[in-house]
Amino acid sequence: MTAQVEIRDRRWPWYAAVSAIVVALTLSMISPADAVQGDLIRIMYIHVPAAWLAYLAFTVTLAGSIGYLATKRMVFDRLAASSAEVGVYFTGLAILLGMIWGKPTWGVWWTWDARLTLTAIMFFVYVGYLALRRATLDPDARAKRSAILGVLAIVQIPIVHFSVVWWRTLHQPPSIIRPDGPAIQDPLMVVALVAGVVAFTVVYAALVTKRMELARIEDAVVAREATLERPVAGEAVVAPDLSPEPGGAR
């Protein structure tokens, strides 16, 4: 009974997210410094989980897109959209944190390594996805068009990935690849990293839950506005020169 009441509380995702983050960040701060990187490794405890979420989020967007195309149920569209928005945030965060880590480690903000380049490309692909959603007003057209883009984006990612990796190996013999991944020596480091990944996943789930709630309410507002029937008969109605795409152009 109690559990049910708690679940109904609309704030529970926030509570879960905040507690997970507190635990993970405490661990990341008390874990020992890395032998090579020193304290900079602490940035990794947020960078790596953020990067992991980027992939998770876009995979969920793909699932939502396919779900929508298969069933035409709006909940899948909301899932795809919410996950993409959260994913773009975490991709951006992962890139920024990577740069902040890279500057003291390598002396430069940016290197043209394959994974970094690919992450940046992915970021812009999904920025485009969100832009498409903003530009399309009719809910059904928006759901279908963005679902198709959601699938196209993922179909292209392996090809982009492959071409970028191939391009890097041609231009950078493996022997001079700088040390990138931190070598994990202490069990507490492993615990901190795992805790980070778990915590971020909880945060992701909370954000997507709330973002979907937002989408649902926005849809409800639109639906409610529609039922506030404008008096149709006995009055000059606005010009109904229907565009082929309601909300779109012409």
Partner: protein, 41 residues
């Protein structure tokens, strides 16, 4: 070592700051949408 902690602090600020902004934007949009729904019913 203190230089490294400066970077770690910077990274933490970026993380907390951006997370607060992102969460804030969702909360703000939620409030606005709820208010609008309330207004309509």
């Amino acid at each position: 070592m203190s230089g490294q902690w400066a970077w770690v602090t910077f990274a933490s600020l970026v993380f907390y700051g951006s997370l607060a902004l992102f969460v804030g934007s969702i909360v703000w949009r939620l409030r606005r949408a709820r208010a609008r729904l309330e207004e309509l019913s």
